[in-house]
Every structure is written in C-alpha cells, then in structure tokens.
C-alpha cells in the first residue's frame, strides 16, 4: 500500500499515512473553509487500509491549532481507525504550554472514551 503524503499549507496540515506499517501522522494547522474536500483523501485512504490493516494501528496528532470543523474530522478519523486493528494507539503530541491543544486532547479522550496519550515535548 503506497503512503499518502500531503504537504502542509498555511491552513492545512501535513499528512503522512503509512498503511504498510499502520502508522498515521497529522501535524500542523487545520482550518480549511472546505474541510470536507481536504479530508476526503484521508477517508478514502483509511477505507483502503481497513481492507488489510496491520496488527497495530497508531495515529499521531501533532497540532499547532485547528478549527471546530477539524474537530469533527478528528473524531471521524479516530472512530474509523479505532476498531480496525487488535491494537490501536493515539498519540496526541503537543508543544509545551500549548494548553489549548492539551485540553482538546483531553476532551476527545473523555468524549470518545478512547486511550489517547498526551505527550508534551
């Protein structure tokens, strides 16, 4: 399975999805006005991955900031990936003192009742 690589722009994040190794990575800013259009490729890729998933799936989010339309998509990505492998890990990587992003990670953990590791670096 080929990787999905999308370069970051001012309003969209960097995306590196490696289906061969079950490693997914999204980083940066996300506030495109037409958010559905941007995340469509990501969902298409996840659907393909789900046909032959790895034993362990890991997704790393490393946000600077994002809008609420992105929140909806983060929820959707997690729900889509959550049950496709026996093991599933979410790493929520934040810069130190980025309290807003830490709070947002905690909210997602609580609302979805998922194991989400908040890592400050």
């Amino acid at each position: 399975m080929e990787k999905l690589i999308i370069e970051a722009t001012n309003q969209t994040p960097e995306v590196i999805f490696d289906g061969e190794n079950g490693a997914f990575f999204i980083a940066g800013k996300s506030y495109p006005e037409n958010v559905n259009e941007f995340y469509k490729d990501i969902y298409d890729y996840i659907e393909l991955y789900k046909q032959k998933p790895c034993h362990k799936t890991t997704i790393d989010f490393k946000w600077l900031y994002y809008n609420t339309a992105t929140t909806k998509n983060i929820i959707k990505i997690i729900l889509l990936l959550k049950d496709c492998s026996p093991e599933f890990e979410i790493n929520w990587i934040c810069k130190k003192h980025f309290d807003l992003i830490i709070e947002k990670g905690e909210e997602i953990k609580e609302v979805l009742n998922v194991n989400l590791n908040i890592i400050q670096n």
Binding site: N10, Q11, Y31, P32, E33, N34, V35, N36, L64, Y65, Y66, N67, T68, A69, T71, K72, I75, K76, L79, K95, H97, F98, D99, L100, I101, E107, I108, E110, V111, L112
Partner: protein, 362 residues
C-alpha cells in the same frame, strides 16, 4: 460597525493596519491584494504594480520611521499606519509614520522636487541616484520615493501633522489607475487623514473591509498570527484568540450573502479600555437568519457548565452532523469567551440583514 461599512461603501476593499511592520506582513498584505485584484477583470493588470508599491510603502515606513520608537510610544504620539483601498478603477496605498520635525521639512522639500519632474526627469534622477550609489544612512537614498512616483504615474501626495516640538506625522499617499492616460487624482489625502484619525481614535489596530473568501480569510488570519507571535513562534497564550478569530470569520463567511461573486464583510481588531476586541460582520442570507438567531439566543441562555456539556455532546455526535463543523463553531466562541461575546442583526432599508459578532480577546 454597520455605520463604518456604509461609510466605506464605495471601497471594494479597504485594509487599514496599525501593527507590526515586517517582511512577513508585507508579503501577506501583498497576497491579500493580489488575491482580490486577480479576480477583477479591470484591475488584474495592476496587481504586480500594486504589490511592488505596497512593498515600497512598507519599506518607507520601516526605513524612515523615527529611531527611538519607545519615545513615540511612551508619549503615545502616534502609530505607524498602512492603508490599502480599492475604489472603482483606482487603487490607493497610503502610509503614515512619525519622523522628526527636521526630517519632515527636508522630506517635504524632497517630495516637492520629485513631484515636479516629468517622466524623463524622474528617470534621470533615478539613474543619477543609482550611480552615486552612496545609500543614505537609513538606506534607499530616496530611490523608493522616486520609484513610487514613477510606478504609480501620479505625484506623491503628502500631508504633515506636527505632533510635538520634536516630531511630526507624515502621511504619504499613492494612487494607481488602470489607464496611463488618467492624470486626475480621485482620492484625496484629507480622506486618508480622516480614516487615519478615525481609526486611531477608535483604537483600531486592524480593519479590513472586503471579500471574505477562503484565501482572504487565510491571509488575515496569518497577519494576525504574525502579530501574536513571540520569539518567532506562536505564543501559546494566544492560541484561543487565533482559534476564536478563525471561528468567527468562518462563521460570518458561512452565513454570508454572496454579491457579484464576493462575500463582503468587515473584520476589525480594536483596543477598548486596554482590552483587545475582535469584531466581524457581513450581510447574511435571509434563509439563514432565523436559524442563526435561534441558535444564538439558545447559546446565550447557557451558563458555563451547560456550555461545556452542550459542546461535548455536540462534539461526540459531530461526525453525524451535515453541518461542516457539526454546529461547534459558535459554541467554541461562546465557551472561549465565557459566553461574553455579543452579536447583533441590523435590518437595512434594502431589507438585508447585517450580522455582527464581537468578543473580547482572551
């Protein structure tokens, strides 16, 4: 805000800025102007010239502003200012900055001399200045001013306001027309001075009236982002402000009424009682009005705990919602501001609805 909108009705795009002046901001303002001009058949060809002149105008502010900025700020005499506006077939680029009274006199004479030159005279002066190659202490050797007059095709307009025994405010204004044959000024420097004073009195830090398309929004957000930076990085304490501004702009834009392919609106950043306020307004579609008002009235009835619960509930089910942001946008603004944001709907005489949201930054 609707009053200012009406006042600037003739201006298709107007951006006034009292903030940090650096290369990044120059580039963002250039891309804001290019984005607009490229989509205008009659003004498209002026895009490059305008970009060039914005850069020159910025350099002029940076180079010729007084050295001891702290003196000026402490005395609260004045602030550096930049304005870009498009009115009909004209573009005007204006700037204001503080210089010493001694420099003001020399500068005024220098501009008078340049304004008297014809195209040939300007070209010769430019060549002479270049060949001397001994750039002035502050760099540029006046080449920027010569370029401004040459490129705009109009004499440079200037206005000096003495601020104190030592300092004066110099307002410079250039006009660009889409035909070389146009030699008549249409934009008066008194208008620029009025805008400067009005925005300065109202403590407006940034004011944008224009298109609220995705690209324009991104450029404005990046300009603000740049002002919220600390040591070249995003200042974490401003994250909520950046996100709230994105939400408010996208909210206003989402409900915005498109007129001639543009979703025209206003964005302003103001200082009131030492607090920074964000205000965003535009015309909304009639069919969106009732639902939006109902939603806002409901949000305003919630206390902070109820807001949190409502937000989390919406968030959990957001993926099922047809709404692009799952209905979370206004709730985010409400909880960030502890429900202190204000909104208003103004019905116009044309039966249109002008929607405005204002909040104190966090």
């Amino acid at each position: 805000m609707y009053d200012i909108f009406k006042e600037l009705e003739q201006e298709k795009i107007s951006l006034a800025y009292f903030g940090v002046f650096n290369d990044k901001i120059t580039n963002l303002l250039i891309s804001l102007s290019e984005d607009y001009l490229q989509r205008q058949d009659k003004l498209k060809k002026l895009s490059k010239k305008t970009s060039f002149l914005i850069a020159e105008s910025f350099q002029n502010i940076v180079r010729h502003g007084v050295v001891n900025k702290e003196d000026i700020l402490e005395k609260n005499l004045s602030k550096d200012f930049f304005q870009l506006s498009v009115q009909g077939d004209r573009i005007s680029i204006s700037s204001a900055n503080v210089i010493t009274n001694k420099e003001a006199q020399e500068f005024s004479n220098y501009i008078d001399n340049i304004n008297e030159l014809d195209a040939e005279g300007l070209k010769n002066l430019q060549l002479q200045t270049l060949s001397r190659a001994n750039l002035s202490e502050k760099g540029g050797a006046g080449l920027g001013i010569i370029e401004m007059v040459r490129k705009s095709g109009f004499p440079l307009k200037k206005h000096f306001i003495q601020l104190s025994e030592d300092f004066s405010l110099v307002i410079l204004s250039m006009e660009i027309a889409n035909s070389d044959k146009e030699k008549q000024h249409k934009i008066s420097i008194q208008n620029i001075e009025t805008i400067y004073k009005r925005m300065s009195e109202k403590n407006i830090i940034m004011f944008y009236k224009g298109d609220f398309s995705n690209t324009s929004n991104t450029n404005i957000i990046e300009i603000l982002n740049n002002n919220f930076m600390k040591d070249g990085d995003i200042n974490p304490s401003n994250l909520k402000n950046i996100v709230a501004i994105i939400e408010v702009m996208q909210n206003v834009s989402k409900h915005g009424k498109e007129i001639n392919g543009f979703r025209e609106g206003i964005f302003a950043l103001t200082l009131e009682d030492e607090e920074l306020y964000v205000e965003c307004s535009n015309f909304i579609k009639q069919e969106n009005f009732e639902e939006l008002e109902k939603n806002l009235i409901h949000i305003k009835t919630l206390n902070n705990n109820q807001l949190e619960l409502f937000y989390k509930d919406k968030m959990a089910n957001s993926y099922l919602s047809e709404d692009q942001n799952g209905g979370l946008g206004l709730l985010e603004i409400a909880r960030f501001t502890k429900n202190t944001f204000n909104y208003s709907f103004t019905k116009t005489t044309d039966d249109e609805i002008f929607y405005s949201i204002k909040f104190k930054t966090i």
